[in-house]
């Protein structure tokens, strides 16, 4: 069950590195925790700052930061395209309903947060971000959720996605062979049952190795 084979079936799954683009700029070198805090600050500022000029200024600042990350413009535009369309539609609607000031504020606010988040995602390896999340969740060990278990769950989930995609492909082939490829029941029931069966045997394998307890 090689990853290359799965990628052949589903190009959307781009592997464990996710949407990261390698580089050496200051944003790449900054730690994931600091970047997450920065993103939260941007999000708060968008909520707090009122008026079109503040929103545009914030958008300009984030754009400058994004330009300094040395990302490929085409990739950034591709991940921004959906929110640009949304911002355009909502901006036009709000212009018509409530005037240009609100329209600019809402549209610029949307693009600002999504652009900042895209930059954080593209300059931070997802395994580093997950490590930071694990460290942030470390206090949960007092309520019975040790960080090791969190890390194990993340690893198990990432491993399971390609396997389940392959299962979904098999189930679809089986349904097609019976002429049922348009029946949601014939597609989803075997996929769900096999998911539970897979989880059960994974759990037995973990218990046999003394993991997860």
């Amino acid at each position: 069950m090689s990853r290359r084979q799965d990628r052949h079936q589903r190009p959307a799954w781009s592997g464990p590195l996710g949407l990261y683009a390698s580089g050496t700029t200051w944003l790449h070198r900054l730690g994931p925790g600091a970047k997450s805090v920065g993103l939260a600050v941007v999000g708060l500022l968008v909520l707090v700052v009122r008026g079109p000029w503040g929103a545009v200024l914030l958008l300009a600042a984030v754009t400058v930061a994004a330009a300094s990350a040395g990302l490929r413009r085409r990739n950034v535009l591709r991940s921004l395209l959906p929110i640009l369309v949304t911002a355009g539609v909502v901006g036009l609607y709000q212009w018509w309903q409530r005037g240009p000031a609100i329209a600019v504020e809402v549209a610029a606010g949307l693009v600002t947060v999504v652009l900042a988040a895209c930059v954080v995602t593209a300059t931070t390896r997802s395994d580093h971000l997950l490590d930071a999340l694990g460290r942030a969740l470390a206090p949960l060990r007092h309520v019975g959720l040790p960080p090791r278990t969190v890390a194990l769950s993340v690893a198990l989930m990432i491993r399971s996605v390609p396997a389940l995609l392959a299962t979904a492909g098999q189930v679809r082939d089986a349904a097609r062979a019976r002429g049922l490829e348009r029946s949601p029941r014939a597609l989803l029931v075997p996929a769900a049952v096999r998911t539970v069966a897979r989880a059960r045997s994974t759990g037995e394998a973990l218990a046999a190795r003394g993991l997860g307890d």
């Binding site: 589903r10 190009p11 959307a12 996710g18 949407l19 990261y20 993103l39 999000g43 991940s79 959906p82 929110i83 909502v90 709000q94 409530r98 504020e105 606010g109 949307l110 947060v113 999504v114 900042a116 988040a117 895209c118 954080v120 995602t121 931070t124 390896r125 997802s126 971000l129 999340l133 769950s153 993340v154 198990l156 989930m157 990432i158 399971s160 996605v161 396997a163 389940l164 979904a168 189930v171 019976r178 049922l180 029941r185 989803l188 029931v189 769900a192 049952v193 096999r194 998911t195 539970v196 069966a197 897979r198 989880a199 059960r200 759990g203 037995e204 973990l206 218990a207 997860g212 307890d213």
Partner: protein, 221 residues
């Protein structure tokens, strides 16, 4: 190999859970069934992956419905119903955390923190709560006769989506887009028909899963 439609739906059932044909299909006491923390971890992680697969698969085109629906909410509600409130909402939380960390597991192969800025953020935030509520309600309804189980599951899912997913999703969308209450509700209502359909699917699929693994319904930690 000729396979009847029902056969491949229950591949592991025969070997795992003996069913007494004389007892009207009810499950016998299972000889060895360790409900360990390892199994819980595996169930949570695998169902988080299942939600990701549901969101990634090409959407099912539904006749009489203009927009094709993705199965993301189907996976979320199924996790809640099958795993119960605690494990179900943990599975959905794991899915959200991995997606926010940048793996492309959200609908249309997107991922990363960018979803935090999108107007649809509220729906994502409501998912673990809705899955938890649906799992809780199904746990309450497990003493019902078997033939009422699908109806109970559908009701639990409808409660989860109508009480939590849509109100939270619509509020966040309205706040982010600067809309009034009525505008936001009108925009959010476009998701309702697909949602009803997906909850019907959850009821059908979860009933089949409970038939294959009856202990999932009986023990819900």
């Amino acid at each position: 190999m000729p396979v009847a439609p029902e056969n491949d739906a229950v591949p592991a059932a025969a070997s795992r859970v003996p069913v007494d044909p004389d007892a009207g299909g009810r499950a016998l006491p299972v000889p060895v069934l360790r409900s360990s923390a390892a199994t819980d971890v595996a169930l949570i992680a695998t169902f988080a992956a299942f939600v990701a697969v549901c969101a990634l698969l090409p959407s099912i085109a539904v006749p009489n419905l203009a927009v094709p629906i993705t199965l993301q909410t189907f996976g979320v509600m199924l996790a809640g119903v099958v795993l119960g409130p605690r494990r179900g909402s943990l599975a959905v939380l794991l899915y959200l955390a991995v997606g926010l960390a940048g793996l492309p597991v959200f609908a249309q192969g997107t991922g990363g923190l960018a979803v935090l800025g999108k107007p649809s953020l509220g729906y994502l935030l409501a998912f673990p709560l809705a899955a938890g509520l649906a799992g809780l309600l199904v746990g309450r309804a497990r003493s019902l006769p078997t033939r009422w189980l699908p109806v109970a599951i559908f009701g639990a899912c409808a409660a989860g989506s109508l009480l939590l997913t849509h109100p939270i999703g619509i509020s966040v969308m309205g706040a982010r887009l600067g809309m009034g209450v009525q505008e936001a509700i009108a925009a959010g209502a476009t998701f309702l028909p697909g949602d009803v359909l997906k909850n019907v699917l959850v009821a059908v699929v979860a009933t089949a899963v409970f038939r294959a693994f009856p202990d999932l319904l009986q023990r819900r930690p």
